[in-house]
């Protein structure tokens, strides 16, 4: 049993490492196999100065064979050197670092809330067994699911910020009042509320519907019939058996959502003028800042891989059958 689990874990970690290496390799070859001078492409500038080109050539061994370059690229990354954005004229990490927390505070908060609330509502809907409530929930969830996030964000700003003035319209802090300490945290949370709420409304229906469907399907399983026939009280049957079986799909989706949370919700960040990773990524695309883009992709690969491993472990704890895979 434990041997199986260890083997499973080992395989998962191996595949995560392979995924990261694969992303790095693809990144490398995108630049080096594209037509044109790799140094020029890397800068992302129209007319890079000869000094920049020279520096790049030295740093990445660009005049050496391809394999040596690949190796150099790898070791640079392993040393923690994510790259240098010539567009911003700053190391990539300087640009990315300050944006990690703001982005995660939106995405992770929203995902955690969406997961807990979504599964809770699904459980509630099936426990109430009221066809009407179920219908209302499903209807709302479809409407929310179909809504574009930026549009929903704009509506929420219109209602709760412009009209009711409960929340600020944009940004992370109140620029006019430079709060300190606890007051600053409160200000941050105040600004955080609407973007998180928007993302929550977008993600909640997914968790709700997946769990709801899973519960409905589980209630039809033979084990429910048998354990109920045996005399298990309905309450225990539901709380201990049906819930554990039904939550597995939602956990998987939660893991995937967390994996992508590092690049955030670019559209929502734009609507709320939130200085996060999503905006940085979009900006990098528009400005053709390849170096920065590659740094973000690398970070994304690492993040997704880690989230994947953690999810797989949680799933394996919940469902012993997957340990065989």
């Amino acid at each position: 049993m434990d041997v199986l689990f260890a083997k499973y874990l080992f395989r998962r970690i191996l595949s995560a490492v392979l995924l990261i290496v694969l992303v790095i390799t693809i990144n490398f070859f995108i630049i080096h196999l594209a037509p044109g001078d790799p140094a020029t492409i890397m800068t992302g500038l129209e007319n890079p100065s000869p000094q920049i080109i020279e520096a790049l050539k030295r740093k990445y061994n660009l005049d050496k064979p391809l394999l040596v370059q690949y190796f150099k690229y790898m070791t640079n990354l392993l040393k923690g050197d994510l790259g240098f954005s010539y567009v911003y004229d700053q190391p990539s990490w300087k640009l990315i670092g300050p944006r990690v927390f703001p982005t995660l505070s939106i995405t992770v908060t929203a995902s955690v809330l969406a997961f807990t609330l979504g599964t809770y509502l699904a459980v509630l809907a099936s426990r109430l067994r009221k066809k009407f409530g179920d219908l209302i929930f499903s209807l709302i969830s479809y409407v929310l699911y179909a809504m574009p996030s930026f549009w929903l964000g704009l509506i929420l700003i219109l209602v709760f910020a412009s009209k009711l003035r409960w929340f600020p319209t944009s940004g992370m802090f109140d620029m006019r009042a430079s709060y300190e300490g606890f007051r600053k945290v409160l200000d941050y949370l105040h600004h955080l509320f609407l973007p998180v709420f928007t993302l929550l409304l977008i993600q909640l229906p997914v968790f709700y519907r997946v769990t709801r469907a899973s519960i409905v399907q589980n209630l039809r399983e033979d084990y429910v019939t048998v354990l109920s026939a045996v005399g298990l009280p309905n309450d225990k049957l539901f709380k201990k058996y049906v819930m554990k079986n039904s939550i597995i799909p939602a956990v998987t989706i939660f893991g995937i959502t967390l994996g992508f949370s590092i690049t955030g919700a670019a559209l929502i960040e734009i609507v709320f003028a939130w200085p996060g990773m999503g905006r940085l990524l979009l900006d990098a695309v528009f400005r053709r800042d390849y170096q920065l883009l590659l740094s973000i992709y690398f970070l994304m690969a690492v993040f997704i891989s880690v989230a994947m491993i953690v999810t797989d472990i949680v799933i394996a704890v919940l469902d012993p059958r997957v340990r065989l895979l």
Binding site: Y223, V226, L227, V230, G231, L232, K244, N245, D319, R321
Partner: protein, 322 residues
């Protein structure tokens, strides 16, 4: 006279599905005496499981008991309230279900589930007492103790089937139904489990039903046999009577297709044709379209169940042949 443990009278059970009515069980009556096992045989779809589920009141919501009465261990099963039913089901009587492979939750340990099942009717037992009783139960069905720590998917089909038998014996019931308890297993395991059931039934002095489409399995375990066709009882007699001298043409077909009784080089003779559409009401002998000896009369009259020499048969031609 021995006590009557199960008395089924004129039972009819229908399913409603897509506005159609499936007549799964029609006018079935039989009795089971204390200490006896009665086999229910018939091909797939003949209503055997429906009959069993009606007896222990586990019909799906689209099923209706149209008529009849069931007395089991003195309880008027069909008029008992749901709560009262929950109190006695699995305590006084239980069942081994046809589908055993998914009969336990895949993400909980077998021992955990068995313990919960035991607690349901014995809330005062301590954890140690439960474990002790579970271990004792496993010995009875020839399973090692380690299966308590296993998950269902880690067990073989034969082991799962033994778990289901253990589950049915959990609270020392007086009456038990085996629904296709060995069908999904290989021949060797099937033989072993039949032997085990045989000795269990004797040592625990159980009464019950054995349901199977395989006349061979049923005849090994049962004192009497009820043959069902398209929801109807077509013949009921002792095992010896059914095997040695089947009266109904359908029973004769079943007996002929038993390997032991077939001539050596002759092919196993099945019964050509299929079950009739159960959603159509019939005003003839249900078996007539497949019957080798049916005459015009058989397509006009519904045969009643006649008692002949202590056995019952529903066939217009039987009197003529004897």
């Amino acid at each position: 006279m021995k006590n009557i443990v199960l008395d089924v009278q004129d039972l009819s059970v229908h399913y409603r599905i897509n506005k159609k009515v499936i007549r799964a069980v029609e006018d079935v009556s039989f009795k089971v005496e204390e200490g006896d096992f009665v086999g229910i045989v018939g091909e797939s779809g003949s209503g055997k499981s429906t009959l069993a589920h009606t007896i222990i009141r586990l019909l799906p919501t689209n099923a209706m008991v149209v008529s009849g009465r069931i007395e089991l261990l003195g309880y008027d099963v069909l008029s008992l309230g749901e709560e009262d039913m929950r109190k006695i089901r699995w305590k006084e009587f239980s069942m081994v279900f046809q589908k055993s492979l998914n009969a336990l939750s895949p993400v909980h340990k077998v021992g955990n589930q068995l313990a919960d099942a035991m607690k349901a009717h014995n809330p005062n037992l301590t954890e140690e007492e439960i474990i002790d009783r579970l271990k004792q139960l496993l010995r009875m069905v020839n399973l090692p103790e380690r299966v308590l720590k296993a998950y269902p998917h880690q067990l073989s089909g034969g082991m799962m089937q033994r778990i289901m038998i253990a589950l049915a014996l959990l609270n020392h019931p007086k009456f038990i139904i085996f629904d296709e308890a060995t069908t999904a297993l290989d021949v060797v395991t099937q033989g072993q489990i039949i032997e085990e059931i045989k000795s269990l039934v004797k040592s625990l002095s159980l009464t019950g039903l054995v349901i199977s489409h395989d006349l061979g399995v049923v005849s090994e375990l049962c004192d009497e046999i009820v043959v069902m066709y398209a929801g109807r009882l077509v013949e009921h007699g002792t095992t010896e009577q059914i095997l040695q001298q089947p009266l109904h043409p359908y029973t004769q077909g079943l007996v002929r297709s038993l390997p032991d009784f077939a001539q050596e080089k002759k092919k196993l003779s099945g019964i050509p044709g299929n079950l009739p559409d159960l959603s159509q009401p019939v005003h003839q002998c249900v078996f007539a379209p497949r019957c080798p000896i049916a005459t015009e009369e058989c397509f006009k009259t519904v045969p009643s169940t006649e008692e002949i020499d202590g056995r019952r048969v529903a066939c217009l031609k039987v009197g003529a042949r004897i």
